[in-house]
């Protein structure tokens, strides 16, 4: 592997980083919007958000292909207006990654916001704080451990995404070959050494992510338990 092509690593990190950033923002937005409100149809909306968790990735990929394909509703619009082609491009990999990792971020964020004591937000309002300030100074920092857990899980999920990405972005070496894709096609073409190399890389990435998350959340759990217990 002396002259290894590191494109899959770079592409995987790029796709996971972009999708995680987008998922972090929209996940927090929807979770904060919906977490404390009770309204008709809430559970239907939440089921829709969480659907990619239970569907086979190929089904998600198929749906995305219908939506973002050249004749799909969104794909045609993006191509006509912005000259952006989603299928068979790294953008397709980002979109697939967003859709499959969104439920993880949403769930973590919703749980984190639900755990923030609503009286603290009320207290802030009686002191003249705007909703925006209440969010940034109270809800966000207090929900941060849960938000960070969602962020890490989304990143790990984005890094490992395979099925939906294959359906939407395809396998184009140097363009859409993320690490999981590189492993699959290396095995298929009998390049076991190459496959092993990428397996080691992705296991190391996944392992260090989860280990760090566990260490970090335990440390914070202790701190928050102390704060609540006194």
């Amino acid at each position: 592997m002396a002259s290894a092509d590191y494109t899959p690593l770079i592409l995987s990190l790029k796709v996971a980083a972009i999708s995680t950033t987008i998922v972090f923002i929209i996940g927090i937005f929807f979770a904060h919007l919906i977490a404390r409100k009770q309204f008709f149809g809430k559970s239907i909306i939440e089921s829709f958000f969480l659907l990619p968790l239970v569907l086979p990735p190929t089904v998600v990929g198929f749906g995305l292909l219908l939506l973002f394909g050249k004749n799909g509703w969104l794909g045609k619009w993006l191509l006509d207006w912005f000259d952006v082609q989603v299928v068979f491009s790294w953008i397709g990999a980002v979109i697939a990654s967003i859709v499959v990792s969104f439920p993880l971020m949403y769930q973590s964020a919703a749980a984190a916001f639900a755990n923030v004591d609503v009286r603290l937000e009320k207290a802030a309002r009686t002191m003249g704080a705007s909703n925006w300030r209440v969010f940034w100074t109270i809800a966000f920092p207090l929900a941060w451990p849960g938000l960070l857990a969602g962020l890490v899980l989304s990143f790990a999920r984005g890094l490992g995404e395979f099925g939906a990405t294959l359906m939407l972005a395809g396998y184009i070496p140097g363009k859409t070959d993320t690490i999981p894709m590189a492993i699959y096609f290396a095995v298929e073409s009998g390049h076991m050494e190459k496959a092993t190399f990428w397996v080691i890389i992705i296991v190391a990435l996944g392992f260090s992510t989860i280990t760090w998350l566990n260490w970090w959340s335990k440390r914070n759990m202790r701190r928050f338990a102390n704060e609540k217990g006194r």
Partner: protein
């Protein structure tokens, strides 16, 4: 002068109260679940009455089809277990309600509060590092730092042990003398506490004011 008329349908009864408060301590006394906290929430703008009106001084806070948002009411609120922000130091908690642009002019006000409530030594501590009585004093300082026109206190002493409770009762009375222009509205279900603190005591049961008496201190 606070002038209140609140009508609100709650799950087990209808809350229907009318009262006023001048520059005095008015105690809302009654059993748990009689609607006391709902009244405070309506005054603070955290809940809306179904009908009625709320005047504070010359301002109409609620009524005639309008409701001033909680952020603009200038009503201080001391929550039952103080609702101090756990991730901020005592100092940051106290300054939270003072707009940044006003801070240079408010240093004296905050200093006075720290002096009166004797919490200078706590300002770098976090809420989990201080005792119940200290939390109560910090929460009072935080509520008064915004220079409210009305101070609401929801069971402010219920989380304290007997000795601290007695000390804090005296502290509240002393504080009201210093901020005598501000009506204090205190909720409690403790009869002894109501008698000690209130200039006027309103007895609430199932959402109705059933009795009112003046305190001859």
């Amino acid at each position: 002068m606070l002038d209140v008329q609140i009508h609100k349908k709650l799950s087990h009864f209808e809350l229907d109260v009318t009262f006023t408060a001048d520059h005095e301590i008015v105690v809302l006394f009654g059993p748990s679940g009689s609607g006391k906290t709902t009244i405070l929430n309506c005054l603070a703008g955290l809940e809306q009455p179904d009908k009625g009106c709320i005047h504070l001084g010359d301002s109409l806070l609620y009524g005639e089809g309008k409701s001033v948002p909680a952020q603009q009411r200038k009503v201080g609120y001391l929550f039952q277990d103080y609702a101090l922000f756990p991730h901020m130091t005592v100092e940051k908690n106290i300054w939270y309600g003072v707009p940044k642009k006003d801070r240079p002019n408010k240093i004296d006000v905050i200093q006075q509060l720290l002096d009166v409530l004797r919490i200078h030594h706590l300002i770098k501590k976090y809420p989990h590092q201080i005792s119940g009585g200290e939390k109560q004093r910090v929460a009072l300082a935080r509520a008064l730092a915004t220079e409210p026109s009305l101070l609401l206190l929801d069971e402010p002493l219920s989380a304290l042990d007997e000795e601290t409770r007695l000390q804090c009762q005296d502290e509240l009375l002393r504080l009201h003398q210093l901020w005598e222009g501000v009506p204090f509205l205190i909720v409690t279900h403790n009869r002894q506490e109501a008698r000690k603190l209130g200039d006027r005591i309103l007895h609430l049961n199932n959402g109705q004011l059933i009795d009112e008496w003046k305190n001859e201190r």
